[in-house]
Symmetry: C2
Subunit: 438 residues, 2 copies
């Protein structure tokens, strides 16, 4: 049995979707003031924020937290930004951003996710001499659970997130992922991420949960707008998470998880339309951490089978998304065709003098037709370019999933043939965590 | 001294920019036939191809090479594609794509880089039981060396490439990067990549070079068009590279590097407008490879100082790029303003009856003015959105460079204070390779 030595301190991680749309989110400035006070007073080691849409608000928090959280990074991408920010009491050594390839449509102005360059940000933090890879992310919103047109986009984002985490977390002593995944615990993308990264959900890992209202589940309530069409999540559904994973050197335990509980004492409104999460993590340094120990063949085979099942499920969703996008692409082509016809019509009118007997009418009409034709052509072209890039991304994801599936299949065959399996080759060490969910 | 045991075989890596623009590149189909024959007959372990712009051509090669190179991956991104393909005799276990955030302008149709989603692709290959992380990339072209408007874009791409390699190569036994960097050996981006990843250039690493013509340098010659404005590279300039890096477990040596030499025996034209590279690499398995051994303080400090210098140089280029893009953004705003004025003018004409005495003239004119105004407004808006995303990317790169620079500074102070430095923490083990260039 390996000996375990606690490292100097515990790690307190905070995550909050700040709902920081300037001039739209209610009481934005006052709430940032409150959020800054909360982080400063609670002295979290690392605070992961989402929806900090304005850099001015990030700079406000940076100034406010400069003495207690001297290290910060604001991830910039897209038109508006990624909205992702990290504040840390420990030194941030490095940062890397991966912008998701698929993130809604620019013409869906009322949803607007496309304009925020949704991404996963990585900061490498030196925590008590240990290398912590801390990820913050925000996935595409779910506007309708019954008819979720963005499901393939969120599945592609989940895939890119897990691939990014898998491939960039290899040298880390501890791995932490916090953010708004916009998915329920048992949703496909969520299972995919957990199964293929080995990240464990702090909520299911801890015995000590102090959450809002019923004490068993977290709540994403829109305290402000109460608009069910905007935030259609029922009480008892989680979409904000803190996930964690240790390494060969360090095993991690979630001592407790707590959330804010709607109203704030002495204040007329909550911190945000999401509840904030705080996880208390214990890091145990060991020769060979339990998380990375060898598992028996049966457990490994079950884990691989589960990984294969969830990839197959995700691949089917991507395939559906591909079919849908190909339909959209065909429509864009039709729009271009229609535009071309409208452009050709005036030419016909000139060539057929009988139609041009009223020169005034025809001049105006031809002008209008040509203008409409040009607009249709241009719009069709832009839509076509958009959908062709989406098709590329969906096909790339499908291919990557196929590779992973084949690799898992060969591992499964290998483990059956050799009667031995070790998880030390960079593949996730466990997919069993998602069995713990109800 | 650590003992070294050779692994079962050498590794032969091939890289070629295929110049595969269908209906534009000359003799495309015949050249793909020749390229396929070359790879099949030479039996390279891994072939890294760029500018395979058409998926049909990739599928042609895949069929042709199916028996000798059963593993292949085609990276899909952008409107046209990334153009990147990998063929391997060894099993490809996984693939990941990172599309560069900055890649020219969509309105520069005659350059067209924007439409190819330039990227770096990673395949994880199981080579004789070793984990090889193989990267293939193609950076933005340099159309004018004297006035290189795309320099900041290429520097951002170089930064993203090195960050991607640094963060995803940690668990690899061997690291190989091949592709068309569109940079000369001593160009800033090239120095940046080598200094911060520790990747070593096969050309400078080997004593056995068999290259085209003068035997000392590789040549990027446009054998077909001879257009100096398109391919302004002089004889003796390299832009195609194979870079390599070992690990703690495996050290790498480049036994030889060879190139194709323009014309092909029995064929009327070369393989491409680039020469193909073939590197013969030897892998030496050791307890602690020489590449990762501790260096003395002076060497480490020199390496860190060089890394800091090159980051500072790159940061200045990014800053220039930011200024330029802000100017472009201002112009886009002016265009929108002009459009708005044109849209308002017809309103003025209606409000000022004196100008509307000739109703026919005014109707046509106002229509034309309104149409022009709308076009200007829309174009201005699209340009504005484009430049704002570019500014976000440039600022993010600047921030990441600042973080790296601060981290290097603290390492330098630390190494001076402690009198000790080890390179085992994921930072590149050497930046000295770029001193070898003349």
């Amino acid at each position: 049995m390996a000996t375990e030595r606690p490292v100097p301190d515990k790690l307190r991680v905070f995550s909050l979707n700040c709902w920081g749309i300037r001039f739209s989110s209610q009481h934005c400035a006052q709430r940032y003031e409150m959020i800054g006070d909360l982080i400063a007073s609670e002295q979290h080691d690392i605070a992961l924020l989402q929806e900090v849409w304005s850099e001015r608000d990030f700079l406000f928090l940076k100034r406010k937290l400069s003495s207690c959280h001297p290290y910060a990074h604001y991830f910039k991408s897209g038109v508006i930004g990624s909205g992702l920010a990290v504040f840390s009491r420990h030194r941030i050594q490095d940062a890397l951003l991966y912008q998701y390839s698929l993130n809604g449509y620019p013409y869906m102005l009322r949803h607007g996710d496309w304009f925020g360059g949704k991404a996963v940000g990585l900061v490498v933090v030196d925590v008590f001499g240990l290398k912590a890879h801390v990820y913050v992310t925000h996935l595409h919103a779910e506007y309708s659970r019954a008819q979720d047109e963005y499901l393939p986009h969120r599945i592609v984002q989940s895939w890119e997130l897990l691939q990014f985490v898998r491939h960039t977390s290899c040298g880390a002593d501890v791995v932490i992922l916090g953010g708004d995944l916009n998915m329920h615990p048992q949703d496909l993308g969520n299972r995919l991420i957990r199964a293929h990264t080995g990240l464990r959900d702090c909520y299911t890992e801890t015995d000590t949960f102090d959450g809002c209202e019923d004490g068993h589940t977290l709540i994403a309530v829109n305290h402000f707008t109460k608009k069910q069409d905007l935030i259609p999540f029922e009480k008892g559904i989680r979409i904000d998470y803190i996930l964690m994973k240790g390494s060969k050197k360090v095993s991690m335990k979630c001592e407790s998880l707590s959330t804010t509980k709607g109203s704030v004492a002495g204040k007329p409104f909550p911190y945000s339309d999401h509840e904030a999460l705080t996880a208390e993590l214990t890091l145990l340094q060991s020769e060979e951490s339990r998380e990375h120990g060898q598992r028996n063949i049966s457990d490994s085979q079950t884990a691989i089978s589960e990984q294969m099942d969830v990839v197959a499920e995700a691949s089917a969703v991507v395939k559906d998304g591909l079919c849908h996008t190909e339909t959209l692409q065909a429509r864009a082509l039709h729009l271009m065709g229609g535009g071309l016809l409208l452009l050709l019509l005036p030419l016909l009118m000139i060539l057929l003098p009988c139609l041009c007997s009223c020169s005034h009418f025809s001049f105006t009409t031809t002008g209008l037709l040509a203008a409409a034709g040009a607009v249709f052509m241009l719009s069709g072209l832009l839509f076509y370019l958009l959908f062709i890039t989406h098709i590329k991304v969906l096909k790339e994801t499908e291919d990557q999933m196929k590779l992973t599936s084949d690799d898992l299949q060969s591992k499964l065959s290998g483990s059956r043939a050799s009667g031995f399996f070790s998880s030390s080759d960079g593949s996730p060490e466990s997919s069993s965590s998602f069995k713990r969910e109800e």
